[in-house]
Symmetry: C2
Subunit: 697 residues, 2 copies
Amino acid sequence: MGALRQPERSGASAALCALVPVWILLSSVLGLKAEDDGIEELATEKEAEESHRQDSVNLLTFILLLTLTILTIWLFKHRRVRFLHETGLAMIYGLLVGVILRYGIPATSYHNKTPPSCSLKEGPASTLLLNVSGKFFEYTLKGEINFREIHNVEQNDMLRKVTFDPEVFFNILLPPIIFHAGYSLKKRHFFRNLGTIITYAFLGTAISCFVIGNLMYGVVKLMQVVGQLADKFYYTDCLFFGAIISATDPVTVLAIFNELLVDGDLYALLFGESVMNDAVAIVLSSSIVAYQPSGANTHMFDAAAFFKSVGVFLGIFSGSFVMGAATGVVTALVTKFTKLHCFPLLETALFFLMSWSTFLLAEACGFTGVVAVLFCGITQAHYTYYNLSEESTKRTKQLFEVLHFLAENFIFSYMGLALFTFQNHIFSPIFIIGAFIAIFIGRALNIYPLSFLLNLGRRHKIKGNFQHMMMFAGLRGAMAFALAIRDTATYARQMMFTTTLLIVFFTVWVFGGGTTPMLSWLHISVGVDPDQDLEPCGYSFQVLQGDGPHAEGRSKTKQESAWLFRLWYTFDHNYLKPILTHSGPPLTSTLPSCCGPLASCLTSPQAHENHEQLRDPDSDLIRNDTDLTFTFGDTAITANGASSSSGADAGGGLGWSANGKRKGSTSEEALEHELDSREQELLSRGTRLVFPIEDHV
Amino acid sequence: MGALRQPERSGASAALCALVPVWILLSSVLGLKAEDDGIEELATEKEAEESHRQDSVNLLTFILLLTLTILTIWLFKHRRVRFLHETGLAMIYGLLVGVILRYGIPATSYHNKTPPSCSLKEGPASTLLLNVSGKFFEYTLKGEINFREIHNVEQNDMLRKVTFDPEVFFNILLPPIIFHAGYSLKKRHFFRNLGTIITYAFLGTAISCFVIGNLMYGVVKLMQVVGQLADKFYYTDCLFFGAIISATDPVTVLAIFNELLVDGDLYALLFGESVMNDAVAIVLSSSIVAYQPSGANTHMFDAAAFFKSVGVFLGIFSGSFVMGAATGVVTALVTKFTKLHCFPLLETALFFLMSWSTFLLAEACGFTGVVAVLFCGITQAHYTYYNLSEESTKRTKQLFEVLHFLAENFIFSYMGLALFTFQNHIFSPIFIIGAFIAIFIGRALNIYPLSFLLNLGRRHKIKGNFQHMMMFAGLRGAMAFALAIRDTATYARQMMFTTTLLIVFFTVWVFGGGTTPMLSWLHISVGVDPDQDLEPCGYSFQVLQGDGPHAEGRSKTKQESAWLFRLWYTFDHNYLKPILTHSGPPLTSTLPSCCGPLASCLTSPQAHENHEQLRDPDSDLIRNDTDLTFTFGDTAITANGASSSSGADAGGGLGWSANGKRKGSTSEEALEHELDSREQELLSRGTRLVFPIEDHV
């Protein structure tokens, strides 16, 4: 309850959580002693043993709770119950256990005496020595406690026992969830909607954050007026709340989409947006914390501080991105150039360790581990995945799937638990109602205006019912919770935490449960075969191409970004893929002839096979799509039937395969085909369990 | 360095380590703060951030170390290098990093002031309150520190940082290793040699423990005479050392056996013995710790205390066994009676959580979690495995394989690290040399006399070269290390720890590396197809049957134990398998007719299919092995061609399948066939990586 701030708590402990084997070191959490402590034997031992038993029982209860959740999930899936998703269920069980822990169990305190106390003049240090008749004992600072709580230290023990360090969520439970999202994100639909998704993720999250932040500032002012505000609540706090509550997590909705085979593009938009906006929300909240105007006038607007925050945002985001991508690239290179795929176990272990080291690397450099892990996941899926042995692809997928499943259900059941066991809740009806209204408005001002703008540039419009569905699917989940629980030191943060918890409960139960009726109410088609709705490539890069009738005014910028993306894709397809994986065209045909020796050294034998395959005139790679032909490389892009400068190739020739040199080609088609071909194996359409198909609503 | 004992450290923290998701909660280990600590902002924050960075870098180094190990392992496997196994390699890398940490890095202490100190008259409590001008701070006891080390608190920080809580090894790293051993142990060869393995594990470990203990007591007396002993070293300490050093871990040897396809029985003997003697050694060491004679005459022999210890041994062992088996049975029932196998992810998660809950359950009841986990693994493999979906069988296998691989390599690299970073080493040349001689003698007095006795009863003798190989394969590994590091509070324990470390290094490098030459020197045949060397069933239960010419004198007891085992196998095959799995004969045919409704309720449809299948006269289950026919159930066993009382069935009839009632049958054959049929999928022959077959030495 101390009124101090701890803006850099994140930094304080993140890497600790990533200790070498992920599961090690837990032991000290609840007060274990270090290696060579010779504590007074009898009392301590008895106490420790009693405490140990108690812990075992508590934890056993928790495991049995998760087991029960799994069994109920199965029952629900078996009986095709859709109104309650597993995460909602986990929360309910968590709530029940929370109630039992709070009210059901008498406070069994195993040390009956109040702790001894001693006085010092100086401020607290992290380490304190205690001199007991010549023997020295080392003590570690646990935290400040309120004077009135001193006598409750033991009574609260039971509830504190089930209160994990909040950094655990951020550093232990989120990484597997986020990595898995990145690793399973590699979907054709995702890449086709990349521009749209990025727009929603960056612009949308920023809009949502500022709208919610400003609305909440109004609410706070109102509370001040009516005298409902007991302590300070700054504008930056409101913005921070806006940032954390902007992270959406539509797991429930996506699970139902997956079951009902809802349109692949809608799925990709929602899934992609939710994954990317998690990263944006993390970095945004760090930037807001970093916003510290100089001088006395803190917490008010200051241009220098604002630009510093923007700089922090860009720096952390790009740094984390680079870290994640770099580790992915290193893993891809290692798996390509060693014959590690003969030993799937080694390969899986390496993959696991490398992916984890991303987290550490980013944290060591002061970036955000979770964001780095996301981009590492995407890179691993885009490159490394192709180098793994078939067994390893399954192993890695399943390993992270299990980790993700356990972590997610744990977070959600902990949320339920936290409602009753967290001891500093501040329920403020005005703030809570205000927050519900604000997130609604924030989501609306994110989805509808951006969709309108995006539709200007999209060939394939985001239909009205899709927009409503995206609006509806703005559920809040694990990320919002983890960001909120990270720092609950001040009055403002405690109020935010309580409100976030309630928002998560409400959205998961109500919006999650209402997905199926909503789908039929919005007449969104279900039962779409994810592989049938693929239009020829004209559908790609909708945002980026000025081929729509409404796009004239913005075609310049769009052409530029299209140019950037084309450049990237050509580069990826012609250089990165061949260098990092065994797929793609051989480097000998894409690199200038002067780099011959290097090229042949880097090209794997498989690439030459690919080469031969692509030459095959029967290959379904070669499409006669005259409506829209993409040409990459040095030539310009042309749309809607206009012929390009490399029109000679438009009939179906793959430039680099014809004469061994890059000369512009339908490499986009090749890329997309490539994405399709092996991707079918990858977790289809997202992160949730695949459900047997049934008659659709 | 306190001279106090902490016999029940194990109890103190075991369950803490098993917190709900295995990987959570690490964060507090290195001194994180609890949730609502309002610490003086600036100093602490800076310090925390610096500390955090430093930690990240340290841990990153560790992960890269493991990555490097994996890559080198691959290189070694690729180049068919056999003189150094991956565990040996991990130790070398650990040593290198240990040297760097110890000598390479200057002591970068991030808090430069000596910690403040305060005095109290009473003994230390686990919680201490500090009053700094009205504000109260809570401190947690970390441990006693030596007076002379007070000023080194910061200097040692670096080394302490890489020193994990010893309980971590026991409670976090060992369980997956042991569980995996149990889960992959289900081998036909293991069951055929069960009696021999149990004899080696129980009698052999006890012999080894007492021989080593007594020899070491002699060494200690010698050290006392020559004045090399600086502190107390009791007889119980010597016995404790005997117990911890009796746990063998021939991973290196088994990996080579696996590669070279060494005789399956030798493999099963070694693997089985090493798995079981780990459990025995843990419980034995706990019992020795529990040996506390009453009165002043501690540490000397006392009949009451001795019997108490024996009671503790039996109690803990059987309790842990029952816990493990019970959880396995519950999991089997749950997976049988729910259709969870439609959802492999749920199934895997359930399997994981249930297996873990064994650990907690055992710890909560005061038993040994690690031992319970071993028997849980065996039960899961024997029953639950058959109920899992095909995907889950792979998933669970691979999940635990990866966990096992990472945990094992981590332990071994940590061992290397510990040689330089552990700060209380006591190198005593006499003790070390004595210990090397003692473990040699202890192993010899375990293997040779027991083999002689066992050979009296075995049809298929344990040949001399097999005995020499078993003698040679007495490597010490993870278990001995974990038991030794668990308590390093006293002088005696520190000396034991140092010695154990050196013994592990020596045996893994020298004996591990010498396996291949030793195999050829002993003329042990390699390249044996594991499925070809199966003799007809006469080979089973060798120990238990009095069919050898030398066995007359012991036939009574052996007949009895054979009777017990037959009873168990019949029970298992006719009741447990059908109740717990979908395999085996339908219960309707094995249960008395009065239990008809219950039987048909418990029998799964698959069992009836099995029934039909077994009826098939072409089934290869039915063997005409007239040399030795086993009949189970109510009839007596007969060997060497003598006809049994149910001889009418000996021609190949399966009693229960003929008329739907159990009437004595070749259920042993059926059982063995059953073991064979699905087991081929299971991790073949042990825990190590499968190596491509090559020309044999």
